[in-house]
Symmetry: C2
């Protein structure tokens, strides 16, 4: 494979001139430029970026850590990250952790060993995650919560959740079930907080029995809804902490003979593509996935370029989307 020396030889100039022609064209005379270009053509030269990166001590790549790339909401965000990163000249290293601390660690090592310049992590902050010990590395948290230390980009989950319950209450619902994520998950805690706030404001007593724990998968939504169906007095509305669980819940309710929304209203969270096409289409919260991804990249690159952002927080607006999965409560 041809290298810069070869080009210099063919062009009849020095390697420095070739290097300059490529990186700082303004510092090279038109005559040299032409010779260099011709030589590059002639020997079919492709700069060795491995050498350039090594020399400049930058990898021009960022790691994106995600618990599961198959989650449709995450893949939307990642698509935006990839796009913006490429525009800014960075490659995206995909780190699908599957919630494994070991995998997470390996990706952190990529940054420690200079193979990547920084990390964007999609998931709420967790105090015992390896990413916390790697502090000092350029790191941006995406989709986190208020408790996330360092720069983060998110929506206000408490508020969004409260909005949703407020809306259900405005439809005269009083027994509002909730299908949560795992108890310790910060999203779960935030969204639960909004749920409780809304109930409290409306003077509705909080009822422990109306809570069913899931873990953000469709299947867990089915199970949780089964549990709520089995109550003496099932809820007239169920708020789910994401769309997948809502889709599972709807399926479960139907199989138990309940019509959605006539008998029971169901709501989701995230507004993934399928929220719009399932039956009935889901009332849900839409997070600005594309903006989040783009902002995350821009912020991370500022960190990589040495800027200090100690606690920059971007709380983005969300959309409240009403579709057909919610209706007036049957009973007063």
């Amino acid at each position: 494979m041809s290298n810069i020396r070869e080009v210099a030889r063919v062009a009849g100039v020095s390697v420095a001139t070739v290097s300059r022609a490529l990186s700082h064209p303004e510092k090279v005379s038109p005559a040299s430029m032409k010779k260099v270009k011709q030589a590059i053509e002639e020997v079919n030269y492709r700069p060795n970026m491995l050498a350039r990166n090594f020399r400049s001590a930058k990898a021009y790549s960022i790691v994106v850590l995600v618990p599961d790339i198959a989650n449709p909401f995450f893949s939307l965000v990642i698509r935006a990250i990839e796009d913006q990163a490429q525009k800014r000249g960075y490659a995206v290293l995909l780190g699908d952790t599957q919630d494994s601390g070991a995998k997470e660690k390996e990706y952190i090592r990529l940054v420690e060993t200079r193979l990547a310049d920084g990390i964007i992590q999609l998931r709420p902050h967790s105090p015992d995650a390896p990413t916390n010990k790697a502090l000092g590395l350029p790191y941006i948290n995406l989709c986190g919560t208020e408790d996330t230390p360092g720069p983060c980009i998110r929506i206000d989950n408490v508020l969004a959740s409260k909005n949703m319950v407020d809306y259900l209450i405005s439809l005269d619902h009083k027994r509002i079930g909730i299908i949560t994520g795992l108890r310790g998950n910060p999203h779960t805690m935030d969204r639960m907080k909004g749920y409780k706030q809304s109930l409290a404001e409306a003077g509705i007593e909080f009822d422990e029995r109306l809570i069913a724990e899931g873990e953000y998968s469709i299947w867990s939504g089915v199970n949780a809804a089964n549990k709520l169906c089995g109550l003496d007095k099932p809820p007239t509305a169920i708020m789910c902490m994401n769309d997948e669980m809502a889709i599972g819940a709807v399926q479960s309710l139907k199989s138990h003979g309940y019509a959605v929304p006539q008998d029971i209203s169901v709501t989701g969270f995230d507004d993934i593509d399928y929220a719009r096409y399932c039956d009935p289409p889901l009332t849900t919260i839409s997070q600005p996935a594309e903006d989040m991804g783009k902002i995350a990249v821009d912020l991370l690159l500022r960190l990589i370029e040495g800027e200090e952002l100690s606690k920059e927080e971007h709380v983005l607006p969300y959309d409240f989307i009403v579709r057909k999965s919610t209706d007036k409560a049957k009973e007063g």
Copy 2:
């Protein structure tokens, strides 16, 4: 940041010994090993992989080109690719092309400039794609068709499609509509071929009017189904070339007052997660996404390591999955 020289100095050995201690531990005496390990701890040394890669002229990373990461089937495959690549010591650079030739080119350049060692592309072969001109680079095609040149991993789309139509015919369907992808797409062509084969074998005449063109999105499935609904004699079954279009079709049929499957049967392709949870759950073809991803990585690494695989083809088995979206035809 500390380097190998620093470690050598602290350990009181030469840089060569430190390097060997890390890469070829068996060539180092226990005594030196111990000193090196201590020194590494002491100065908190992390090898600079940028330098290692440069020196060894390998990036230890592969590019995965995908038309759209938000497609659930692709994300399943990518998850498997990431997992296997990490196990083999390679990083995955995500290239979401959005069907843009320009983006595709930039990722090919990553390989040409040594920043990546090879490419796995998820999508059928297309004669005018930039990836074809980049021949000579380690390249594996995934989810392609029979026409794909070079090593590829796929299922037999013609056969799978024929199986599906055979099944519908066995349920007494005779007017079987088909919602296709874009006409020129090799998957579309293969699956259409299977459709026609099955009809021909059953002695059912091919009817141009029963074809509706989509482009593999939910929305296009809605549109295509709208068209089929408008026929004088709508089909009694509709085979869709992927699950997304099937989900869209089901929604359209319902909104036109048709019950699925009582009035019209619908089938999908790919068996994405939602196929199982939509209403009704889809009869579909399941592709072995995980095996495909794993095999692709193993094959690509063989190419990267210099092996010749000129035309290795892996045609994997698929599963035929019967769920509730198909039923006996109403009329004889």
